[in-house]
């Protein structure tokens, strides 16, 4: 007998046959006809394939406007001192969004995760708080005078402390208004930005990711070609686009003449289709696949002049935003496990009296602060007009590794209890996997 083959006894063979039969039975439709399968087992979104619908079904028509010159938020004046104190304005906004996160997001996080949707009322409240106005220049009706990557970072963090999935749902349209505030020309700003500072703010999303392994945002499969009339044709597939089914406006990354670029795409445009794409986590953001088939765009849809630095900044600012979310969710993990390990008694005393448990809590606190500080640094450099490629990469590196470790430790510290949905740590585990991986979607 060869050393690596495992000899099967007749009994083993019988068991193997039995398992195959069991599998066939379990996958047959017979048990469904007999109503043997519990209704809950039916996946909420089981028909992803072929489930594409035209996007922008309820969307508005954006009327083209002419602008004078593009408005930009200026950098804030700095004293050049190391400082971790937010400005009064930032402190006020963080408190308001923090209250919102704790009283509105946190209590419904589990349900929204299950439903793969954020309640419309909650999204409306976030608009009232001005979430889409943060990145809009003041002269166009924006809420904040100066360039506000740090402000957006603080808001993202505090929202994710309530719930990451709902935070993504809330912040998705803000990514589009921020992109227009940063890179839109006068006409683009005049056409779209009034909608984001008004009463009836459209759902909108920034789509970069594509469904392939080792996705590199600088090498896109989605292609844009120039048409004879000066416009563009877009073809490709975008993945994990939040609230895409309801969105009225997209900013979409596509390769134009060998370089990645950003395009403004109204959802009603022919050839734009959406299919639900529920994922491991951030489910409340109603992630979807966006299919673009010969989508014809006018010349004014190109955002940021196809400048490679604009595109690179978009990717970097997205990474900062995801790190901010990881900092918020990481804080939720730390707060939760701190309480749990003190309450949970084993072997006659709280498990927090064991170094193996206590040190895990210490390490969560250390790496969480590390993610937070590197994220703040990247954002503050963006606000100051300094380069932030290095800083956003380092924050993302920590988010991908230590942020996930925090999620994993959160479940581990609760043991079996961490694995069941009675506790939120399993959701945070799923959400934190997204934070160091997803490209685009958000902007600070």
């Amino acid at each position: 007998m060869a050393p690596n083959t495992i000899e099967k006894s007749p009994a083993d063979k019988g068991m193997a046959f039995g398992l195959r039969a069991l599998n066939r039975f379990a996958s047959s439709s017979t048990i469904d006809k007999l109503k043997l399968r519990k209704p809950a087992e039916k996946a909420l979104y089981s028909t992803t394939k072929g489930g594409f619908k035209a996007a922008g079904a309820v969307g508005r028509q954006f009327t083209k406007q002419k602008g004078d010159k593009p408005a930009r938020q200026p950098s804030a004046k700095s004293y050049g001192l190391f400082d971790l104190t937010p400005t009064d304005e930032q402190a006020m906004l963080t408190e308001a969004f923090g209250d919102f996160a704790q009283s509105e997001l946190k209590p419904i996080a589990g349900q929204a995760d299950h439903d793969c949707a954020a309640p419309a009322e909650l999204l409306a409240q976030s608009i009232e708080l001005g979430v889409t106005m943060i990145g809009v220049p003041e002269e166009l009706g924006g809420a904040v005078e100066e360039r506000s990557a740090v402000t957006s970072t603080l808001i993202s963090e505090t929202l994710a402390k309530g719930d990451m999935g709902l935070a993504v749902a809330v912040l998705a349209p803000a990514a589009v208004s921020t992109a227009l505030g940063l890179w839109g020309d006068a006409d683009q700003q005049a056409t779209y930005l009034p909608e984001f500072v008004g009463e009836n703010v459209p759902a909108a999303a920034l789509a970069v990711m594509e469904p392939r392994p080792l996705f590199d945002p600088f090498k896109l499969d989605t292609k844009a070609t120039r048409n004879a009339d000066g416009g563009f044709t877009l073809t490709g597939v975008k993945s994990l686009v939040p609230r895409a089914a309801d969105a009225e406006l997209f900013v979409i990354a596509a390769e134009l003449e060998g370089k990645p670029a950003l395009f403004i795409v109204e959802a009603k445009t022919d050839g734009v289709a959406v299919a639900p794409e529920p994922a491991m986590g951030i489910r409340a953001s109603a992630t979807a696949t966006l299919a673009l088939e010969d989508v014809k765009l006018p010349v004014e849809s190109l955002l940021g002049d196809a400048d490679p630095e604009v595109y690179a900044d978009c990717i970097r600012l997205g990474r900062i935003a995801w790190s901010a979310l990881a900092a918020g969710t990481g804080q939720a993990v730390l707060d939760y496990v701190t309480q749990y390990v003190n309450d949970r008694v084993a072997f006659g005393e709280p498990i927090s009296h064991r170094q193996a448990v206590a040190f895990t809590v210490s390490n969560i606190a250390i790496e969480l602060d590390a993610i937070r500080l590197t994220t703040y640094k990247a954002a503050s450099r963006a606000d100051a007009g300094k380069s932030f490629a290095r800083e956003s990469a380092l924050a993302r590196q920590l988010t991908a590794t230590k942020g996930m470790q925090i999620g994993s430790d959160g479940v581990q510290l609760l043991g079996g209890h961490g694995y069941i949905k009675e506790h939120p740590v399993e959701r945070w585990y799923r959400d934190l996997r997204a934070a160091g991986m997803i490209e685009g979607v958000l902007l600070v």
Partner: protein, 410 residues
């Protein structure tokens, strides 16, 4: 306003420290690694230079600069009332230590006049003592053969005899013990009171009761001498007791331990300097070998060595910002005990990790004595040990986060 850059006003100081490191420490690095226990005479000229600077911007190449949350005004920048924050000597000292240890950690540790004892004096001495010990190089003697991390259980005793205390015991691992002018010795005036009885005494090096037993041979930081002392009926005047002479069970030990909230970020800074030396060298080696470090492309698309470099650099940056945060909090008199330990824990473990992995990536170039990478990976190990080991830092953090006493969370 949130800003995590080096303060503009410290830039000249940092650049000066870097120059000293480049011109004076690096060139002597290998020399005193080989000639262990030999006094680095090159440093004498630095002493007067540093002392001159200290009265100004707080060059504080060593630990002496930090004291009772001493936060000098914002230099040329607007006053704190206007800016809402202070950048003082805790931060400036940390930043200059990073530069100096980028030069050489062992030599920084034996910088004349810059002992850990100077920190203790700055933190707890009264006005008269501050004046009397000004300009003295002060070493710190805490550890004993049977008391390392559990410094509360030290056995050295101090018995009152008229105007004097009589000290008896054994002290090990005293950095700069041979070279210093005075040694700050921890001893218990009332062992029955436990940790509350622990006081620190300034003992002159030429006191006949303070006997140098031996100098240690070490894994790294060989330029810095590590002395063992025997205290035998060592008579110390009562005016040399630092802080409150009374035994108070309600506080006492906490006062002695306070020193560490200010010095832990400085040891973190040492680890940052030492590991940045390795990181800088590794960057050069990788670049020369044709690798480009691209921060924008996902690391999964880059060569393994580049991905590893970015991973190490992220840990370094994290440790830097945690350290700056802890120092900034001290400057602004915010309680920073947890943050000081977080900085020390992160910088300590990252320092070892970065320097050792730099050796691995550099291969024989890293491992050979022809270059300094192997030395930095030996030097860095101590920085995850002294001023509280990694494990002690994690304990301090956990106790405070979880609200546990040392008897509950042992």
């Amino acid at each position: 306003m949130i800003n995590l850059e080096y303060p503009k006003k410290f830039k000249p100081l940092v650049s000066q420290a870097n120059m000293v490191a480049q011109e004076l420490l690096r060139p002597n690095s290998r020399k005193y690694d080989i000639a262990e226990h030999e006094y680095p005479v090159e440093l004498d000229m630095l002493r007067s230079l540093i002392e001159g600077m200290e009265d100004g911007a707080g060059m504080g190449a060593g630990a002496a600069g930090v004291g009772k949350g001493d936060a000098s005004e914002n230099g040329g920048a607007p006053k704190a009332e206007e800016t809402g924050t202070k950048n003082g000597t805790n931060l400036s000292t940390a930043l200059s230590i990073i530069e100096m240890c980028w030069g050489d950690t062992g030599l920084l540790l034996t910088m004349p006049g810059q002992g850990l004892g100077n920190s203790a004096i700055a933190a707890v001495a009264n006005e008269e003592q501050l004046k009397r010990f000004k300009g003295k190089w002060a070493a710190m003697a805490i550890t004993e053969p049977e008391a390392g991390s559990d410094s509360a259980s030290i056995r050295t005793t101090a018995v009152k005899d008229g105007d004097y205390y009589v000290l008896n015991g054994e002290k090990i691992f005293v950095t700069s013990g041979e070279r210093a002018d005075v040694v700050v010795v921890w001893a218990n005036v009332d062992p029955s009171a436990g940790r509350a009885g622990i006081k620190s005494f300034v003992v002159e090096r030429d006191n006949p009761g303070l006997k140098l037993d031996r100098l240690e041979h070490k894994l790294g930081i060989r330029a810095s001498d590590t002395a063992n002392f025997i205290l035998q009926d060592c008579r110390v005047h009562k005016d040399n007791l630092l802080g409150d002479p009374e035994v108070r069970t309600d506080k006492g030990f906490g006062g002695v331990m306070q020193t560490f909230d200010n010095t832990r970020p400085l040891v973190a800074a040492m680890a940052l300097g030492c590991s940045r030396a390795a990181l800088d060298e590794l960057r050069t080696l990788l670049t020369d070998a044709g690798f480009e470090i691209d921060y924008d492309r996902p690391t999964a698309h880059q060569p393994g060595a580049v991905a590893e470099f970015i991973e190490l650099e992220a840990d370094w940056e994290a440790a830097l910002l945690l350290t700056m945060q802890a120092a900034w909090m001290a400057d602004n008199r915010k309680p920073n005990s947890v943050h000081a330990s977080m900085a020390k824990a992160k910088a300590g473990r990252s320092g070892t990790d970065i320097t050792l992995r730099a050796v691995k990536l550099a291969g024989s170039v890293g491992y050979s004595e022809n270059e300094l990478l192997e030395k930095w990976s030996r030097d860095s190990k101590i920085l995850d040990i002294f001023e509280g080991t990694q494990q002690i830092q994690l304990l301090i953090i956990a106790r405070q986060l979880l609200g546990k006493s040392s008897s509950e969370l042992k």
